[in-house]
C-alpha cells in the first residue's frame, strides 16, 4: 500500500519508542521517498512528534531500525545527521541576528566566514527577508521569524527537512502564505519534507502523502484524496471530520449491491465483500450528499430536519438530524446554498448514490 514513487530516503522498520512505561510509538513501519512531501498528522499525544524527533536523532528508538539514505541511524547522534528541523517554537537563537542564525549550521560545518555570510544572505534573499539580515530576531514579525527559521534549516542544503508544526504560531492569513512558500520551496529544491501537524488543512494542502497516527500507530497512509474519500477506519473517518458515518446490518446482497439497515433507515451500498447478516459501517463524505426539498429517486434517501449551518470561507456545512436523532452533515458551496430556500427546523431530503458510500471494514 502507498509505496513511494521514487527510491526510498527514510525507512522506519518496526520502530517502537517507550518512555518508561508509556509507549509513544508502537511498531511503526514507514517508507518515505526522495523528494516526497509527507505530512504526519494526528491528535496530540499520537506519537507524531516523537517520530520526528527520532528522525532527528533527539530520541533513540527502543526497538526497530531507522535508516536514512540506506544507512542505519539508530545510534547516530543528532549533530552527525543531516536532518535539520523547523521547530514549533522556531528555537531561533535570541542572542544572534537573523544572518548569524542562518549561518549557524554552516559555522558548525566549518565553512569559512565569508562564504557563510554569502550563503546566508542568499537564503534570506530567496525567502524575501534579505533586508532584515542584521536585525535582532526578537524584533522581527512572526512571519519573518518563520522565514529565518526556514533559511537556517535549508542553508546547509539537506536532503531531508523535518518540520514540527511550524505554522501553528502564525495568524491564519500568514499560514496560507507560508503554505505556498513551503510547497514552492519543496518543489524547487526537490528535497524530502516530513511535516508534522495537527491541522488537516495544512496537511491536505501541501503533502503528497498523509500519514495519520493514532495512539502511537499508523491509522492510514495515503494521498489527501484517499484519506478524504476512503478512510481506512472509523478513527480516520472521524478525525477527518467531514464524514457521515453509518453503522448497520447487511440484510440482502443482490447484483453487487448490499442493503444495510441502520437506525436512521435502510441504505444501499456497493456490496464488495459484504455478506448477508454482517455488521458493517460505511461513510459518505459530506460533500457527496445531495440536499433537496423534495424526495428524489436516488438509491439512498433520508429525511432530516436542519439544525444549524457553519460557514468556512465559501464552503457551508449544514448539520441535520434524522427522525431517530442520527446526525448528518452536508457540505456545499455557498452559492449552491443560496438557491436553496432554508431555515432551521425545515425538512429536507438527503440523497446519494450507492457508489458514494465507502465501507470501513472491522468497524
Amino acid at each position: 500500500m502507498s509505496n513511494p514513487q521514487s527510491e526510498p530516503l527514510v525507512e522506519l522498520e518496526s520502530v517502537v519508542k517507550r518512555f518508561d512505561d508509556f509507549v509513544a510509538v508502537k511498531s511503526m513501519d514507514l517508507t518515505i521517498g526522495k523528494g516526497e512531501f509527507v505530512a504526519i498528522m494526528g491528535p496530540s499525544g499520537c506519537g507524531k512528534t516523537t517520530t520526528l524527533r527520532m528522525l532527528a536523532g533527539l530520541e533513540q528508538p527502543t526497538e526497530g531500525e531507522i535508516r536514512i539514505g540506506g544507512e542505519l541511524m539508530n545510534d547516530v547522534p543528532p549533530h552527525d545527521r543531516d536532518t535539520p528541523m523547523v521547530w514549533q517554537s522556531l528555537a531561533l537563537f535570541p542572542f544572534l541576528n537573523a544572518r548569524e542564525n542562518v549561518e549557524f549550521g554552516l559555522k558548525m560545518r566549518k565553512v569559512p566566514a565569508a562564504e557563510r555570510k554569502k550563503r546566508a544572505l542568499e537564503w534570506l534573499d530567496r525567502l524575501g527577508i534579505g533586508e532584515f539580515a542584521e536585525r535582532n530576531v526578537a524584533t522581527l514579525s512572526g512571519g519573518q521569524r518563520q522565514r529565518v527559521a526556514l533559511a537556517r534549516s535549508l542553508v546547509t542544503e539537506p536532503k531531508l527537512l523535518l518540520l514540527d508544526e511550524p505554522l501553528s504560531a502564525l495568524d491564519a492569513h500568514l499560514v496560507i502564505r507560508m503554505q505556498s512558500v513551503l510547497t514552492k520551496l519543496q518543489r524547487e529544491l526537490g528535497i524530502t519534507f516530513v511535516y508534522v501537524t495537527h491541522s488537516q488543512s495544512e496537511a491536505f494542502a501541501m503533502a503528497d502523502r498523509v500519514v495519520i497516527m493514532s495512539q502511537g500507530e499508523i491509522a492510514q497512509i495515503g494521498s489527501s484524496r484517499d484519506i478524504y474519500r476512503e478512510p481506512a477506519n472509523r478513527f480516520v473517518a472521524e478525525f477527518v471530520g467531514r464524514n457521515n458515518i453509518i453503522s448497520g446490518k447487511v440484510v440482502k446482497v443482490t447484483k453487487g449491491k448490499a442493503e444495510v439497515i441502520a437506525a436512521s433507515g435502510t441504505y444501499v451500498v456497493e456490496a464488495g465483500d459484504l455478506l448477508e447478516g454482517q455488521e458493517t459501517t460505511f461513510v459518505i463524505s459530506a460533500d457527496l450528499v445531495q440536499i433537496t426539498r423534495e424526495a428524489t429517486k436516488s438509491e439512498n434517501s433520508v429525511q432530516c430536519s436542519l439544525i444549524s449551518e457553519e460557514f468556512i470561507g465559501s464552503v457551508v456545512t449544514l448539520f441535520l438530524e434524522a427522525a431517530d436523532g442520527t446526525e448528518f452533515k452536508v457540505q456545499l458551496q455557498e452559492r449552491e446554498l443560496s438557491t436553496l430556500d432554508h431555515g432551521a427546523g425545515d425538512e429536507f431530503y438527503l440523497s446519494w448514490p450507492a457508489k458514494s458510500a465507502h465501507i470501513i471494514d472491522g468497524a
Binding site: 517507550r18 518512555f19 518508561d20 524527533r53 530520541e59 533513540q60
Partner: protein, 291 residues
Amino acid sequence: MNTQKKSTQKKRRFNLYAMVWRTPIIVWQLLFFVGPLLFMIAMSFFLVKNYRMIEAFEMKNWIKMFSKNYFWDSYYLTFGLASLSTIIATVIAFPASFALAFKVSDNVRRWVIFLLIIPFFTSYLVRIFSWYVILAESGVINAMLSYVGLGPYTMLNTMFGTLVGYMTLCLPLVVILQTFSLANVDKNLIQAAKNLGCSPIKTIYSVIIPLAKTGLIVAALFCFILSFGDFVSPYYLGGSKPPTLPILIIDTTKSGQQWPRAAVVAVVMMATLITIAFAALALAYKKRASR
C-alpha cells in the same frame, strides 16, 4: 520533556558530558562543606594537651561544657534572644509585607524589594558600627532627644541594642519572604471571604495568614537562624555580658585554643537549629498536606 530526557539518559551508561557538569559541585561540597562539618563534629570528641589537639574519642569536652553554668546561661540567652528577635521581626514586618503584597502595583513592589535586597550586599559590620555611634550615650539619638529635654538613655550594651542589631540583619529578609508568600495568596479567595461578610481583620486572620502560612514560617525560621548564629550584634551592641553561643565559640577558639570545646558549642547550635527547622517546617506544611 523530563521523560524524554530520562530515556536518553538510560541509553548511555557513562555520559562524560553530563558528568563534567554534575560532578564538580559534589566533590567540592564534600571536600569543603560536608568535610568540615563532619570534622567539626569529630573534633568535639578530641582532646587538648599542652595547647595541642590530640585526635581521640572522649566525652570530656561535652561533659565539661554541659556541667558549666555559663554554657547554659549562654544557651538560654541566645535561644531567648533569637526567639524574641523572630517574634519582633515577624510582627514588625507583617504590616509592611501586607501593604507590599496587596496595596501596591507589581512595579512598585519590584522596586521596594530591590531596595530591600541592597542591605544584604552591604557590610553588616559597618552598619552595626554605625548603630553603635547612633545609639551611644552621646550618640545621634540621645543628642536629638536632648533637644526636647529627654534622656540620655542607655541603649548600648543592653538587650535593646542587640535586638536593634538583629533587626538590621533580619528585617529586610523577613519583609521580602513575607511579601512573596502573601503575594502568592489567591486574590479570589480573599474576595470570596469579603463577599461572605468577613471583616478585614477577620479576613487577615482566618484567610490570608493560613494561606500564606508556609512562607511566613519560613521567613521566621530564617530570622531565627540568622539571629541565633550572629555574634556581631550581641558583641558590639549588646556588650556580650553574658556572651551568646557564637561569642562563646569565638572566645573559646581565639583565646583559649580550645577548639574541641568550641566544636561542642557549635554542634549544640547545629542540633538546636536542625530541631527548630524541622519543627518549623512540620508546622508549615502540616495542614497543607492533609488538605
